[in-house]
Amino acid sequence: MQETLQRYILERHRFRKMSLRLPKDFSLKSDLGKIARSVSMMSGEQMAASNRTQSPILSEKPIKCGFLKKQKTFVKTWQQKYFSLIEQKLYYFKDNIDNKYQGCIVLPGCQVKEVYSSDDGKFIFEVTPGISTDQNRSASETHVLMASTQAEMEEWVKAIRKAAGVVSGAVFGRSLADTITYEKKYGRHSVPILMEKCVDFIRENGLNEEGIFRLPGQDNLVKQLREDFDAGERPSFSSDTDVHTVASLFKLYLRELPEPVVPWCQYDAFLGCEEKICINEDKGHEELIRQIRLLPKENYNLLCFLCRFFFEVQKNSIENKMNAENLAMVMGVNLLKSKSEEPAAMMQSTSIIQKLMTLMIIHHEKFFPKANDLQNEPVPQKNLQSFVEWEATEESVLPGVVQAKNVCDSNASSTSENGLATLEEGSLLKDDPESWKSIARKRTQTMPNAKPFVAGKQLNNIADELFSDDFWMTSTPSNGYRDSSFSSPGHKRTLSEDLKCNRKSTYDNVPCSQGDSGKSPVSSPTNLCASNYGVAQHQQQSGTYLKNCLNTSGLENKTCKNSATLPNLEDLKVTDKKDEMNQREECIQSLQKENKELKEQLEIEKKERMDLEIAFQNAKRARDDAENRNKLLQQKIEEYARAMSASGCRP
């Protein structure tokens, strides 16, 4: 009896695997019985397959094995067992010699949860079968297991989750576009549900909380909430949850995004806006608006949502002490991130990010006009064919398979989005009033029509256009961040000074008795720190630029001198000759300069080309992968349809 039951479960799983692309109205529950019956009439090959899984001769190499303590069901005592994780099942044995297993937990669909114990020495986690099987009582009970160390527990949980198909990072660490697409099945959401929930909670409970978004929550609680969300529980926060914990979770989500809300490719351009704003406020704002428009739809929606919310938060700054600058400080760095974690770069960019973020919060109506909301509505679903089919069955299906496919899908589509986005840039540059609208539409296409490489080339041109005005006044865009310390060549300043220029220092608003401590070239610890932390490397990078700057200014000086001395030379009658020579010299110099510039530009473009080529190859591979998978699944569906019709013929 036990055997048949076990087989039944196995068969059900087999079937769930195959029902991946069932129509939306297909009711899994009512048809399950039919499927289960029909399985016995399936081809011999499949029967053989199910027979093999049924008798788990442990010839397969276990994914993970080792001793764990298992809590007994009725008497809550702990018993040492030897566990072995093979494929998608967790077997347990009396010890590591006995090869006859005492029990087996079928993992697919299981929930794995770490249990926080107040007792320091206990590292407990639970494995709960996800789908309760009425016929099999023992399968629905929760298995409580205990590891001897935190690390061991984490390893087991990770391994079991993987086997169960619950990819850790179901919410956290998933790309924004993916999450939005996935969450469509819960209704229309323009931003991830987690974001909405956090914001709702904070709006309700935390608007007057001092230091909201600045103060951290409790690490362990944040971790637990994160796990709950990842496990797909979408928990609602109980009213006694600390707002700071929710705010921490909120920030964590943003930091864990595989690509920040402002994508890597736009990071430099965003930072560039700040400088433009310094030079000409209106032009800078325009540029920022343009950059914001270039954001992928999901990213735009989230950034807009956040800025509007932060505006609400800072309205209460008398109570919560979080004015727009403060909020921008703590939140901006989670939204605008550079790829490099290099300390000096991070610190320099931080003040710029803060300024931009403050602007976007205060003037959210300007940068995120309400008029754009409508155009940004989710697009009709027919554009999203490839996803729709998945949504119908996702929940009941082996999550592992779905997620793998989803990841694949998103890879393909995100690259295509990038490709399109960059292509779009070209049209936007012409300030086409309609372009905004067309972007919103076009971005949702699922497969790339344009090859990313071609798009990338255009991006290059655009970058050149964007930076042509002040290309040599600032560091090159590929440098990763702007470095104001090099805009005044010849004047050596310490990092802290630079930072103090750029940002509102912590001590700026207080009478600073030691204000000049940083200037003392001998005892400037920031210099020291710089040399300690790879700033040297960065300086090398910018060093070329510095040299350029010096060269250029030198040239200018020379020309100045030349023109100044000209009148005197007129008296002598060699003016013409001198003039000519001067002109030639100038000509040569400017040509040399141009040459140098072009060479450097070439280098940059070469590097970018390489990067784009790699990206293109990756995208291609992802697409091929997706196509293969599609084919495979199509086959499965056909097989399934055949099986269905076969069972229909023989009732």
């Binding site: 103060l215 362990n220 400080m329 300390p343 610190m347 802290s496 001590y507 030691q514 401590s517 005892s523």
Partner: protein
């Protein structure tokens, strides 16, 4: 501002959750003032102060005081800056670990900070002084002195209740930490601390011979 003439360059680092008052604490220590503005530190900052240290060792021979140049590193508590601030841990010789007496979370997170220190500091048992800050807000206090003392005892570190507003125990905590560091340096090459001691001694000569040099790279594998 300071001449390069001193005997020791000592680097301390203040750490703890965001908003516990690290910046205010250091400002109070170096300048004796309190700034009520609520501003987040960008990444990392520093303050400096000169003190004279007189060891009151068992021999009682205090001799001439040691001129100490204190460099106090102020870290951002923001999570985003973790990778940045932890990178600075290994260059500090002593740590001021702050929490907020009016904020239980910050107290609970002390454990995490200590484990971070054990991973990233120059050695596994660095000198730490635990400071329960904002002791002036007695009416809002949520962390009992007893609890904090117990925690400090568990880790074998000193504990002070400080206030950056009125300056209570601010200097005292730093002096305690300085004392610990000086004692550690005087220990005749205790095997575990050899690295730290070795470099510090070397730095002394550097200090005398002119400009201060970074005391970094204390992770020299011998």
């Amino acid at each position: 501002m300071f001449d390069g003439d001193y005997d020791y360059l000592i680097k301390f680092l203040a750490l703890g959750d965001s908003g516990v008052g690290k910046t205010s604490y250091l400002y109070q220590y170096t300048d004796g003032k309190f700034n009520s503005k609520f501003i987040t530190t960008v990444g990392i900052d520093f303050r400096e102060k000169r003190v004279v240290y007189r060891s009151n060792g068992p021999d009682g021979a205090t001799g001439r005081g040691q001129r100490i140049h204190l460099q106090l590193w102020d870290t951002a508590g923001q999570e985003r800056f973790r990778s940045l601030t932890t990178a600075f841990f290994r260059d500090a010789m002593g740590f001021l670990l702050l929490f907020d007496l009016t904020n239980e979370q910050s107290f609970l997170n002390v454990r995490n900070w200590i484990s971070q220190l054990q991973i990233h500091a120059y050695c596994e048992n660095p000198d730490i002084v635990l400071c329960g800050n904002k002791s002036d807000l007695e009416d809002q206090r949520v962390v009992k002195e007893e609890e904090a003392k117990q925690l400090a005892e568990k880790y074998g570190i000193a504990y002070y209740e400080t206030s950056a507003v009125d300056g209570t125990n601010v200097s005292k905590a730093v002096e305690t930490l300085l004392d610990l560091i000086m004692k550690r340096m005087e220990r005749p090459f205790a095997s575990a601390d050899q690295n730290a001691t070795g470099t510090s001694r070397r730095s002394v000569t550097q200090g005398r011979s002119g400009g201060p040099r970074p005391l970094g790279r204390r992770r020299v594998k011998s």
